[in-house]
Symmetry: C2
Subunit: 320 residues, 2 copies
């Protein structure tokens, strides 16, 4: 079959021939219709991920057919039985196990969920890992309630956009940040109450004035901006962090954290239970993932480059 293969650590990915998957006990083979990219895939191509094994097929997100059933795939492998946290040996599809950027993938039968009928193959493929991460961030960790004021930082990213859509669907009043005015405008067109450019001085004061303070913040940047969140949060706020692309937080102060009874909640991926809840939520609210662009599988290198440049608004999808 054809697949996107990392032949050796540090080499560019290749569109190449690869042996068809041989399902192990309890596994089935899915004929993929579409796959989607995550930052994790790009980091793996740069050697910036633990446990890289080659040759390997990348891709955690996929949708396709198994014996005529239209499916999306839960990428979790061995999360374990606690909602609070994963097991130490938890991994996800697409490294070290061969992933979804291929014509076929072998997964355990219980990883298959019915594809939401209102979604195209491309939209369905965009959903799994980003949707799971955002669902856990917003609901399990952020404990979002209807009417909450919510800030989503870096709104172009896949997880950030899912968090944005989920929060809106749950009845929150949502604000965004981005370094791109265009992305802020797109978010406002989708229902954001307002936004600010985090490269401008005083962005946090703008947002505090506009919102009156936040109950929930969802962030994957860290860095200097993170230290400002407590200042624009209400008493009892939850600041959820699922990444640190801007590095360490300088001069993090406990004072506002304890006085305002703020919670800073780390989150990563999600449990199988949360995956099922996320699919149900998407069905209930008829949500459609934002697809930035689609590329044929053979043009995956161009798709990876687009993600690496951070230009996207929504998920980048490969059609098989």
């Amino acid at each position: 079959m054809k697949a996107i293969v990392l032949q050796e650590k540090g080499q560019p990915i290749e569109y190449a021939d690869f042996p068809d998957p041989q399902p192990a006990e309890g596994e089935v083979v899915v004929d993929l219709k579409a796959a989607a990219l995550n930052h994790r895939d790009v980091w793996i191509t740069k050697g910036m991920y633990p446990g890289i094994q080659t040759p390997g097929i990348l891709g955690s997100d996929g949708a396709g057919l198994h014996e005529g059933r239209a499916c999306v795939i839960n990428p979790n492998i061995g999360w374990g039985d606690k909602r609070a946290h994963q097991r130490k040996d938890y991994t996800i599809l697409g490294m070290p196990k061969h992933g979804t950027m291929a014509e076929k993938v072998a997964v355990r039968r219980d990883r298959l969920h019915d594809k939401p009928e209102h979604l195209s193959w491309e939209e369905a493929a965009a959903l799994p890992l980003g949707g799971l991460t955002a669902y856990r961030a917003v609901f399990t960790r952020g404990q979002l309630q209807s009417g909450d004021k919510v800030l989503i930082s870096g709104v172009g990213g896949g997880v950030a956009l899912f968090a944005f859509q989920f929060a809106l669907a749950a009845g929150a009043e949502v604000y965004v940040t981005s370094s791109s005015e265009e992305k802020i405008e797109q978010a406002v067109a989708m229902g954001a109450k307002g936004g600010a450019n985090y490269r401008e001085d005083g962005w946090h004061k703008q947002l505090r004035e506009a919102s009156g303070g936040f109950d929930v913040v969802v962030d994957s940047a860290g860095g200097p901006g993170f230290a400002l969140f407590p200042k624009i949060c209400r008493f009892g706020a939850r600041i959820v962090t699922y990444g640190g692309t801007q590095g360490k937080v300088p001069g993090f102060s406990p004072q506002l954290i304890f006085w305002k009874q703020i919670s800073i909640l780390g989150t990563s991926m999600g449990s199988d239970e949360e995956f099922a809840e996320m699919i149900a939520f998407v069905n209930q609210h008829q949500l459609k993932p934002v697809v930035d662009r689609t590329y044929p599988l053979s043009e995956a290198p161009a798709a990876f480059q687009r993600m690496d440049e951070g230009q996207q608004f929504g998920k980048i999808v490969l059609t098989v």
Copy 2:
């Protein structure tokens, strides 16, 4: 009556005559038997607290008699009806409202709780604010479970010692830090599994090895040590912060926070509901607050000095 009075901001406290309290509507007068110090009282004498009004009687902690009933006083004024956080206008007894370092104090009748029978007046007076803060930190915020591995930093302090006693009583395995070997030994004698001197390099590695990693950390220091907590925490751990005496946390990194699904939980004081639960917990487990030293009310300045020097192990109490 006699009282410990701050006559003017920035002046030393005085043992002085002061008019008897005139109870407002809904208030009663308590004849105090003992009062206790909190760091807050020392900070107020240094002008390091918002909203200082003079002349004022200090003291948040007190126990005494009201019409023959032996009482401890809930120091909360206007926490509000949410457990998650206080109202913005929340204050506590002892500034701006006249406090417990006096022969008499006027408080609302619903602030009175029966004095636990197994406690002396001094022990009962030691309980309110420290016990409330520790109870919320350990249970409401830290979600401590029996069998959890717990780290209490700076174990000589009043809140830290209550947190230590509460965690032990709830069936946790407790470790401590201090800059004093003597305090670590005292904690071990009381039931700590081990401890480390946070002034020694590698203290966190010692504790990680000894414990296998922590489920709950309770800290009021902040500073550089705080940045090490995620490294010695297990997946799903809760790091509870109720102070920042060592200042800002330099180089706080999101990576371990999100990967290990760690929660950093700010906490301050506690609700009326938590106060009642704390008293019930102390009765149920027949816990006795650790009293460091007692001074007659007239010698309060010496008591304040001892607290300011940080030499105490447990609560410093004034007898009336």
